[in-house]
Symmetry: C2
Subunit: 150 residues, 2 copies
């Protein structure tokens, strides 16, 4: 799989928040139900994004999470790197350390291009723009239809 499950959950949650009002905090409980992700597992993942400064949280009644200023400006790529790390965009396809133009593996040149196209896909537009498009084009964020962009 290209992205870990944690990462996919994090992206879905990020797009969820990007589709909502920026200033409000949204409850993890509701979010996990709408997005069909285990509550506790989602909590862990978003804690990581909060620690990374991509989201902000607030405890207590009516608490929740929202995108930080940094998060609002960010792309899916930023979220992927925060969760899965930068490996996908830096490492050799055959797992050889220090693979570069000097000491290349047989896939080196084409993998450089391919991984760049993955990176481009993830950073083409911001979360907010994807969410806007999601509303217009009725994209999906869940297997069933629990979630709607409103």
């Amino acid at each position: 799989m290209l992205l870990s499950k944690s990462c996919v959950y994090g992206l879905r949650a990020s797009l969820y928040l990007a589709s909502k009002r920026d200033s409000d905090y949204y409850s993890l409980k509701e979010m996990s139900e709408e997005l069909d992700i285990s509550f506790h597992f989602l909590t862990k993942i978003l804690q990581q994004l909060t620690a990374d400064g991509l989201m902000e949280s607030y405890k207590g009644p009516n608490g929740g999470v929202r995108l930080s200023e940094k998060g609002k400006k960010s792309t899916l790529l930023d979220m992927v790197i925060a969760i899965d790390g930068p490996g996908l965009f830096t490492q050799c396809a055959l797992g050889l350390p220090g693979c570069g133009s000097q000491e290349a593996c047989p896939l080196h040149d084409s993998w450089i291009d391919t991984r760049q196209s993955i990176e481009n896909m993830l950073k083409r537009t911001t979360l907010k723009e994807i969410a806007k498009e999601g509303k217009e084009k009725h994209f999906r964020l869940t297997a069933e239809g629990q979630f709607s962009w409103q």
Copy 2:
């Protein structure tokens, strides 16, 4: 990671065999040492490729494995699918079942292109051609320099 470790090991072994004389069997022991892969683990992976008809094995003294007729004609993509399965080339980037043009996730269109470019990278040339190029351009198959194409 794009490919599992098993898969990367399988690709390295496939290229190793592709660089050798087609008709000979090559010992797993030597192969695992030259490619710096655990002997038993490599054995398991190549058993899978043998079961899939991409390689052939022969027991006893001077036994080993070699590419089958099918294997000789195959590409890295065939090896990847035999080991990791076809998921990478069929599944939604957000893990949504049945993601398609009708019920698309926000990444659907660009992911179709990107995963196609991954597939193209892996099926552009045959194993034999990669091995030939490996000899000419002195590509690497290991972290250290144990392996040489001869």
